[in-house]
């Protein structure tokens, strides 16, 4: 699918609305204004060569990554992952508990409460993005409980590429909160059937426009 396609534009708009709502929710959590960059979407499939896939993943944040994940189904099945650099999450946690100076950003010894905060924030953001797809396409999605893990970037990439067949929707997002720029990504793994279903539904919206 080419970026000039209307189907791509519709898909991008669905995600933009979801990310915009998520940013608004983040702003409510930390009580600060959030300046958001509008994300672009890349669709990657396992049939593409490694070099192409590597090129896209090379823009992921470096070092330790905090990854929040949720699986979803039924009409569309997949897993949504929210990735942020772990050190930036320390700043974010400090803001969530209303104590900006609580812990130094280099301190990556996360407590159970820290993980709980990130799990809950991931839950809110991913629900907002995935839920918007459900709302636009008028389908009900069921979620699993959110999980949070710390990954080294290279291990996370290997884990994704090890899967025999995959379709990935990759969205780079960046926002500025309290003068700190936080760059992350939303990676949505879909089954091939689900990607086809999603594209079909998006195409139906496009056809309706001309209907």
């Amino acid at each position: 699918m080419h970026e000039k396609d209307l189907t791509y534009d519709i898909l991008k708009e669905i995600f933009n609305i979801g990310v915009g709502k998520a940013a608004n929710m983040l702003s409510e959590i930390v009580g600060k204004k959030i300046i958001l960059d509008i994300p672009n979407i890349t669709i990657l499939e396992s049939k593409e060569d490694d070099e192409e896939i590597y090129k896209h993943f090379s823009a992921l944040p470096q070092g330790a990554l905090m990854v929040s994940s949720m699986k979803f189904g039924e009409k569309i099945t997949g897993e949504a992952n929210l990735l942020f650099p772990a050190n930036k999450m320390r700043i974010f946690i400090n803001l969530c508990i209303g104590q900006p100076e609580y812990m130094n950003e280099e301190d990556l010894n996360f407590t159970d409460m820290d993980f709980d905060i990130i799990r809950e924030v991931g839950n809110i953001i991913l629900n907002s993005i995935i839920g918007e797809i459900g709302n636009t396409l008028d389908i009900s999605l069921k979620y699993t409980l959110p999980e949070v893990r710390l990954f080294n970037k290279s291990k996370f990439e290997i884990g994704l590429k090890d899967k025999e067949e995959f379709c990935i929707l990759l969205l780079y997002i960046s926002f500025i909160i309290d003068d700190v720029k936080i760059e992350g990504a939303v990676i949505i793994n879909l089954t091939i059937d689900s990607l086809n279903e999603l594209m079909k539904m998006t195409k139906d919206i496009e056809d309706d426009l001309y209907g």
């Binding site: 709980d116 629900n127 839920g131």
Partner: protein, 123 residues
């Protein structure tokens, strides 16, 4: 007044409790980490209001609402959920909850809740 907060996030439990205490003042708050514990504590403490998350382990919020409504059809339930889907909201609202509120729970939202609770109390 007794309030039961059922949520698997300790962060959300504490934030919700703090906001409610700040607005309502004289309130006794109980916590449960999932629907199973929530139903047990509902029967034990008979709270005036329950705040229920939907996505929880063991017994989900949706199942908990059904259990509480079967046990006590006059129960007062607020839902606080990250789920933004219209279909989900409509289904949950059909169970007779007072209000479906999207997370995060904020000052503005707690004021709305307090208004409803005070309306109930003084009606």
């Amino acid at each position: 007044m007794k309030i039961l907060i059922v949520d698997d996030s300790r962060f959300t439990q504490l934030t919700t409790a703090k906001l409610l205490k700040n607005q309502i003042g004289d309130v006794e708050i109980f916590f449960a980490n999932d629907g199973e514990e929530g139903f047990k504590k509902y029967k034990e403490f008979n709270p005036d209001y329950v705040f229920v998350d939907l996505l929880m382990p063991n017994v989900s919020g949706q199942q908990l609402i059904k259990l509480i409504k079967e046990y006590d059809k006059d129960s007062n339930i607020f839902v606080i959920s990250a789920d933004v889907q219209k279909n989900v909201r409509e289904e949950i609202e059909s169970y007779g909850v007072i209000q479906f509120i999207n997370k995060p729970f904020t000052d503005e939202k707690v004021k709305l809740v307090t208004k409803i609770i005070k309306g109930d109390t003084y009606a």
